[in-house]
């Protein structure tokens, strides 16, 4: 009984904390439009990749949905470029929309050849 009571109090607490903020939306290029604030954007890298992630103008490339047709979102990235980053790879970016571009400061890649999410490169 004690356990049950504690567990239910805990559950409420968890739901409260988890829903009450701290969470960020997980989006793809196809449903990114109109989202203000920090979001997590996942997609496939489309070249050409230009610029420099360490310069003010940033590394520039485009992102589309991993599967299916979708609009291309122009990306401006400033930060560390993970080892596995290149055109055709799937990446996850944390950032926000500025006009029509997505400005990101964190990137992780996943190795597409593995069935596990092999320890990706945390930027």
């Amino acid at each position: 009984m004690v356990a049950l009571a504690v567990a239910s109090v805990l559950a409420v607490f968890l739901i409260y904390t988890a829903l009450g903020g701290n969470s960020i939306a997980l989006l793809q290029p196809s449903n990114l439009a109109g989202h203000a604030g920090t979001v997590s954007l996942t997609g496939k890298v489309r070249g050409p990749v230009t610029g420099d992630a360490k310069s003010g103008s940033g590394l520039r490339f485009a992102l589309r949905d991993i599967q299916g047709q979708s609009p291309l979102v122009p990306i401006v990235y400033r930060g560390s470029v993970p080892d596995l980053f290149k055109a055709g790879r799937d990446v996850n970016l944390t950032g926000h929309l500025e006009g029509s571009s997505f400005v990101a400061s964190q990137m992780t890649t996943k190795c597409p050849s593995k069935y596990t999410s092999t320890p990706n490169n945390k930027a």
Binding site: N22, K54, D83, P112, Y115, S117, T118
Partner: protein, 648 residues
């Protein structure tokens, strides 16, 4: 060859199904010969699975690219060891490994216990048989490692970062752990199915649970160390769903290992233990589902794979099965004694269990959060590191404290006065340590100081226990030999303290700095001066290797090489430079070669105090678990006597 592998798996499936069906019928109707026949089928199932495994291993070693699996996970230039490690590098092969370990464990557990626990074993066989049948079915019908093609000239190769000794040891270690949790679950289910819900199933499976838990724990530490030295982002745990997949069953199994002691001694928590053992098993299968289905990761990158639905179905069916069993046997499982006081050893065990399960469920909540929000809010959302870090402190710090109190508090009923008297030395040491830390400036992180104070407290209780015991027996080895469970447990507790100190050091007291340096320039991080001396270039057989040479001065001295490998395949891989200063308590200076710009380089430097205690903790954990696991003739005699009593 592939035909032989396929045929062997079909035979495995047939034998597993037979073990499940004939075993159930035999146990229900109490037909001894049918029960024996089902048992033999389970043993034979292991051998046929072994044949399939040998076929795949040979194909990998001989670079037989007519196997789709071999061609997509290895290449001709791969050394034999890494070619063999591709056995668990891909979906189909790792499933085969799962079945091999499952049938191997199952056969061994059944053979070892066939005389002592005949009535239980009759039901263990069909349970293990049914679980094996599921995996064999998936291997035969959904995801076969024996698909063939027109032989390719060369294979796709293995990702460079996986060509690492850790990747040879880490995954099989985890599998030995995940799969091992099936055995206590099968015995628990058997005890309920047979109606013999006494404590024998717990006694019989104690070592199995411990071994599985040891492999799972040590495997995770290996994986963390691999991430730390090889993946090179500066951390060792990222609360990634796949990492959490291994952590959750480990936490549930930790709770179970503690609560069974209460059941053994007091006959309490019997329903709770059934729930925990089922939870650990379900979480292991759920972890398998997470890793394979891509459901969680689909939002990160992975295509949803058809195999996920099968695993989800299996998790649901086995969960319902366990719940129905527990509800059905509830009258048999009622506790014989009640908790007498909230201040007692029993209560301490209960608090430990609640905290561990709470932590486990918190992680589970974080893992499934994206699915839940997508389902109920129509918008997938994720909760990141702050969520996990917060709850790790909320539940983890009290757990750490309990680790010092629990083993010393009196059974049944304790008084505050007696408790304080027992713990006077640890309390004194902890207070002094806390004050010294704050004086030394560690107050920058409150959770960090709390963690260290609690660590000092727990470590002192362990030392006091060893000193007290050694005085009585004369030698520390004698002491451990006389009660391996108790003192093995203390060694494991010490390893958890080391782990806590290492994690707190590397997270709460870490310093990070990023800067662009030209040759000859330096940067200072937390009293360490890092000077960029120059670049070295080398061409190896597989890559162009660039290394920046840096020297350290100030608080520590040494040379670090950090750089990047440009593989001729087009992959790049950063090679971090780590300098460990043991005189400063195992502190690392960790240098990441971030990006090169002409002759200048952007470096990221992390100073990580005490981080090496984490890896030491891994070995201490292994040692403590082995001590607790080691066969014990005296305990065996006790067990036989108790079983004789139970029957008489």
């Amino acid at each position: 060859m592939a035909d032989l592998g396929r045929a062997a798996l079909v035979v495995s499936l047939g034998l597993a199904v037979y073990a499940a069906c004939a075993g159930t019928y035999g146990a229900l109707e109490k037909r001894g010969r049918l029960v024996d026949s089902a048992r033999n089928a389970l043993i034979a199932c292991f051998f046929s699975t072994a044949i399939a495994a040998i076929v795949l291993a040979l194909a990998l070693v001989h670079h037989d690219f007519s196997f789709v699996y071999v061609a997509s996970h290895t290449s001709r230039d791969l050394s034999t060891v890494y070619a063999l490690s591709a056995f668990w590098g891909g979906q189909e092969g790792s499933l085969l490994l799962w079945l091999l370990v499952l049938t191997g464990y199952g056969a061994l557990a059944v053979v070892l216990n066939r005389r002592l626990l005949r009535d239980l074993i009759a039901w263990v066989v069909p349970v293990v048989g049914a679980i094996s049948a599921f995996f064999a079915f998936v291997l035969v019908a959904v995801s076969s490692p024996f698909q063939t093609q027109v032989p390719a000239v060369d294979g796709a190769g293995l990702t460079p970062s996986l060509q690492n000794p850790y990747m040879v040891a880490h995954p099989p270690m985890l599998y030995l752990g995940y799969v091992g949790l099936t055995i206590p679950f099968a015995f628990a289910a058997a005890s309920m199915l047979s109606g013999h819900t006494d404590e024998r199933w717990i006694v019989a499976t104690r070592r199995w649970t411990l071994a599985a838990w040891m492999f799972l724990g040590f495997g995770q530490i290996l994986g963390s160390h691999w991430a730390y030295v090889e993946v090179g982002w500066g951390g060792f745990y990222a609360w990634d769903p796949v990492e959490n997949a291994a952590l959750m069953p480990w936490l549930a199994a930790t709770a179970f290992l503690h609560s069974v002691m209460i059941q053994e001694r007091k006959g309490m928590l019997r329903v709770w233990n059934m729930i925990l053992v089922a939870l650990a098993f379900e979480l292991a299968i759920f972890g398998d589902f997470l890793t394979r289905s891509g459901v969680i990761n689909s939002i990160h990158s992975f295509a949803k794979s058809s195999i996920g639905a099968w695993f989800l179905g299996f998790v649901i069916v086995t969960t319902l099965f366990s719940l129905v069993l527990i509800l059905w046997r509830l009258p048999l499982l009622r506790a014989r004694t009640k908790l007498e006081s909230a201040l007692s050893r029993e209560a301490a065990f209960l608090y430990n269990n609640l905290l561990l399960v709470a932590l486990c469920l918190t992680v589970l909540w974080g893992v499934i959060f994206p699915i839940l929000t997508e389902l109920f809010l129509g918008q997938s959302r994720t909760i990141g590191r702050p969520y996990y870090d917060f709850f790790l402190r909320i539940f983890g710090l009290p757990l750490l404290l309990l680790m010092g109190i629990g083993p010393l508090i009196a059974w049944r009923r304790a008084s505050v006065r007696a408790l304080v008297k027992t713990l006077r030395w640890p309390i004194a040491v902890a207070l002094v340590a806390g004050a010294a830390l704050i004086a030394a400036g560690a107050g920058s992180s409150r959770p960090g100081v709390i963690a260290y104070t609690f660590s000092a407290f727990v470590m002192t209780t362990i030392v006091v226990e060893f000193v007290r015991g050694t005085r009585a027996t004369g030698s520390v080895f004698q002491l451990i030999a006389r009660n391996r469970r108790r003192y093995g447990g203390y060694i494991v507790h010490a390893s958890i303290v080391l782990l806590a100190i290492g994690i707190a050091g590397a997270s709460a007291f870490q310093t990070t700095r990023e800067q662009k340096l030209a040759i000859g320039q330096s940067m200072t991080v937390a009293g360490h001066t890092v000077t960029f001396r120059g670049l070295e270039h080398e061409r190896s057989g597989v890559a162009n290797e660039t290394r920046a040479v840096l020297t350290l001065s100030g608080q520590t001295s040494g040379t670090i090489r950090s750089g990047v490998n440009q593989y001729f395949t087009g992959d790049t891989s950063r090679e971090v430079g780590i300098h460990t200063d043991w005189l400063r308590g195992g502190e690392d200076t960790y240098v990441i070669f971030d990006q090169q710009q002409g002759k200048d380089v952007y470096f990221k430097v992390l100073i990580k105090p005490l981080v090496n205690l984490i890896w030491i903790a891994g070995f201490v954990f292994l040692a403590g678990s082995l001590v607790a696991l080691w066969p014990d003739a005296r305990e065996q005699r006790r067990l036989v006597a108790r079983l004789a009593l139970a029957r008489g």
